[in-house]
Amino acid sequence: MAAGQSAVEARGISKVFPGGVKALDDVSVTIRENEFFTLLGPSGCGKTTLLRLIAGFEFPSAGEILLHGLDIAHLPPDRRPVNTVFQHYALFPHMTVAENVGFGLRMQGRPKGEIDRAVDQALALVKMADYGARRPSQLSGGQQQRVAFARAIAPRPQVLLLDEPLSALDLKLRQAMRGELKTLQRETGITFIFVTHDQEEALTMSDRIAVMSAGKIQQIGAPLDIYESPVNHFVADFIGDSNFIEGAIDTIKGDAAVVKTPDGIAIAARMNGPHKAGDRIAVALRPEKILLGAGKLKGEVREAVYLGTSTSYVIALGRAVTLSVREANDLSGKARFAVGDTVKLDIPAGAARMLAD
C-alpha cells in the first residue's frame, strides 16, 4: 500500500469508563501507512486509552476504529493484526526469549520452520540473536525491552502500538533506544503508534505528533509545526517553554499583526485564525527566539541561570511583563549579562505566535 494512505482511522471515538470518567471525548484522527505517529500528553490525557482501544483491550463507548478501512472497534485483541509493546514489557517469565518471540506465530498456528525463521530474524533485528535460550529474568531492562520489540514485530503486524516503552529505562539507554526505534520503524516499514509523555522523545522520533489533553486532541502536526506553531495555550506550554503575553491586536497586515500589551509594549505576532483589530489575544513566545543586546525594547535582568550550553534569563519589561529568555553561551562560556543589567531586546517578526484561546 502506498505511503500516505490511512492505516488507522479513529472516527468520533468516545470512551466513558464505569463510574463516569470520560477518558476520550469525540476523538478523530487518521494515522497514515508507514508513519511514526506519536500520541503525546500528560498522564490522564487519554493517550493510553486511545492506544488500548486500537489494541482491543478496551472497547469504545461511541465511534469507529478503521484499520485499512475495516471497522475493528469491537473485535477482540487476538483478532486484530496489531501488536503491542507494553510499558513494562510483559514478557512471559516461564518461557525462553525465543519462545516469547515465537508466541504470536505459534498462536496463529504457523508451521515450525516459519516460526523459527521469523524468531531468528526478529532477534537479529534487535541485536539479541545470541540470547534466544535465556529467560527474561536473566536479561537487563534494556535487553528485555529489545525482546519485547522482537516479540511484537515477529508476527509482522500491520500496526505496532508502543505504550511508553522507554519510560522504564535510564536516561542514556533511553536516548540510545530512540535512534534504534526510529531505525527499526524504517527497516520494517510497519506503522508505529507511539504513546509518550516525554516531549523530547516525541519530537526526535515522530513523523507526526498528536498532542492530547483532557480526552481531546489539541493539535496534530509534524514536530516542527507543533513546536513552532502551537495552536493554543496547552500545546505551547506542554511542548518546550513559552512566554505568554496578553494584549490586544493593534494592527493587522496580511499574516502579520502587532499586539500591544496594556502598558504599551508592541510585539509582532503571526496571525492564527480569524481575528480583527481590537481583539483581546494571547501570544506565545519561545525563550530562545528573543534576541538580546539590540532592539527597540528595553528590560532589566532579574535572574540569570547558567545551563551549560546556554544561559536562561528572566527579564522584566515594564511592570506587567516578564519574559524568560534563553541565549546560547559564546566561546568563553560566560553569560553576557548579569542580574541588574539593563538590556535591549528584540522580538523578530514571526517569533511570536497568536493563540486560539
Binding site: A55, D78, R79, F86, A90, F103, M107, P155
Partner: protein, 296 residues
C-alpha cells in the same frame, strides 16, 4: 566455631522437639505396632511379626499356605481412584474460582477469601451431616426435583459413590482454592493482555500463560486435596454409609471393631509410604523442569 554450632543447635531445638514429639514419635509408634502381634482383646502383645503386612496381600488357608487376597489392594485402588477424581474435580472447580477472585479489586478479594474459609468455622462432621439431609430420599435435592415430575427417590443420592464424591470435593475444595489463589494473585495480569494481543484465544491464554504460571499453586493444592482424601474417613462413612470400604474406614475398623492393631498400623504405614513415594516422584520431576519442589 564450636560456640556458634552449639548456639545454632539450641536455636533449632524447639523445632526439633515439636517435630520429634508430634511428628516422628507417633509415626515410630505406628511402625512398631505394625510389626507386633495382635492381641485379640485390642492392643498388642510384644514380639516381632510381619503377619500384618502378609495379611495385606494374602490370606492364610487352613494348611497355612498363602493365597493371594486382593480385597485390601482393591480398597487401596478404590481410595486412590476416588482421591484422584476428587483432586481433578477440585482443580476444575477451584481454578476458575481462584482466578475470578484474584481478578477482583482488593477489598472484594478479601471478602471472597473470607467466604471461602467460612466453612472451617464449623466442624466437618456437622457439615457432613448437613449433606445427609441434602442428599437423602425426600431430602433437599430429591424433594425439589420432584417438582419437576421426577419420582420420589430418583435422586436418593445418599450412600452412593456419588455422595462420597460430593462430600470429598466439598470438604477439600478450599484447600485447592487457597494455594491457587496465592499463586494467581501474584500473577501479572498484563501477561494475559500480552497473550491475547499476540493472537491467543481465551483458551490458549489459559493453557499457555495462566496454567503454567499457576503451576506451583496447582501442585500445592493437588497435594493438599489428594493426601487427605486418600485417607478420608468422615465422608465415606457418613455419606457412603460405609457400604464400600475405603482406606480411612479400613484403618478405623481395624483399630475399633476388628481389634487388629498391627494390621491397622500396617495399612497406615503403607498409605504413608505410597504418599511419600508419590511426593518424591513429583519432586524429581519438578527439579528436572526447574519448577518449585513441594513446599519451597
Amino acid at each position: 566455631m564450636l560456640r556458634s554450632t552449639t548456639s545454632n543447635w539450641f536455636g533449632v531445638a524447639p523445632a526439633w522437639l515439636v517435630i520429634g514429639i508430634f511428628g516422628l514419635l507417633p509415626m515410630f509408634i505406628m511402625l512398631a505396632i505394625s510389626f507386633m502381634v495382635q492381641d485379640p482383646y485390642g492392643g498388642v502383645e510384644w514380639g516381632f511379626s510381619t503377619e500384618a503386612y502378609v495379611q495385606f496381600l494374602f490370606e492364610r488357608d487352613l494348611d497355612d499356605s498363602l493365597i493371594l487376597n486382593t480385597i485390601y489392594v482393591n480398597i487401596v485402588a478404590r481410595s486412590i481412584g476416588l482421591a484422584a477424581m476428587t483432586t481433578i474435580l477440585c482443580l476444575i472447580i477451584g481454578l476458575p474460582v481462584a482466578y475470578f477472585i484474584a481478578r477482583q479489586p482488593e477489598d472484594k478479594r478479601n471478602l471472597y477469601m473470607l467466604l471461602i474459609t467460612i466453612p472451617f468455622w464449623t466442624n466437618l462432621l456437622i457439615r457432613t451431616y448437613a449433606w445427609i439431609l441434602i442428599l437423602t430420599r425426600n431430602g433437599v435435592v430429591d424433594a425439589r426435583l420432584q417438582w419437576f415430575g421426577f419420582e420420589p427417590g430418583t435422586f436418593d443420592l445418599l450412600y452412593t459413590n456419588t455422595a462420597i464424591f460430593i462430600g470429598l470435593v466439598y470438604s477439600y475444595l478450599p484447600f485447592m482454592v487457597l494455594p491457587l489463589y496465592a499463586s494467581l494473585e501474584k500473577m501479572d495480569f498484563r501477561l494475559i493482555e500480552a497473550a491475547s494481543d499476540l493472537y491467543a484465544s481465551k483458551w490458549q491464554a489459559a493453557r499457555h500463560v495462566i496454567i503454567p504460571l499457576a503451576r506451583p499453586g496447582i501442585v500445592a493444592g493437588s497435594l493438599l486435596v489428594f493426601i487427605p482424601s486418600i485417607g478420608a474417613f468422615i465422608a465415606p462413612e457418613l455419606l457412603g454409609g460405609g457400604k464400600r470400604m475405603m482406606l480411612g474406614s479400613l484403618i478405623y475398623f481395624q483399630f475399633a471393631t476388628a481389634r487388629n492393631w498391627p494390621f491397622g498400623a500396617a495399612v497406615s504405614i503403607l498409605l504413608m509410604a505410597f504418599v511419600m513415594i508419590a511426593l518424591l516422584v513429583y519432586a524429581r520431576a519438578a527439579k528436572g523442569q526447574g519448577l518449585p519442589a513441594g513446599g519451597h
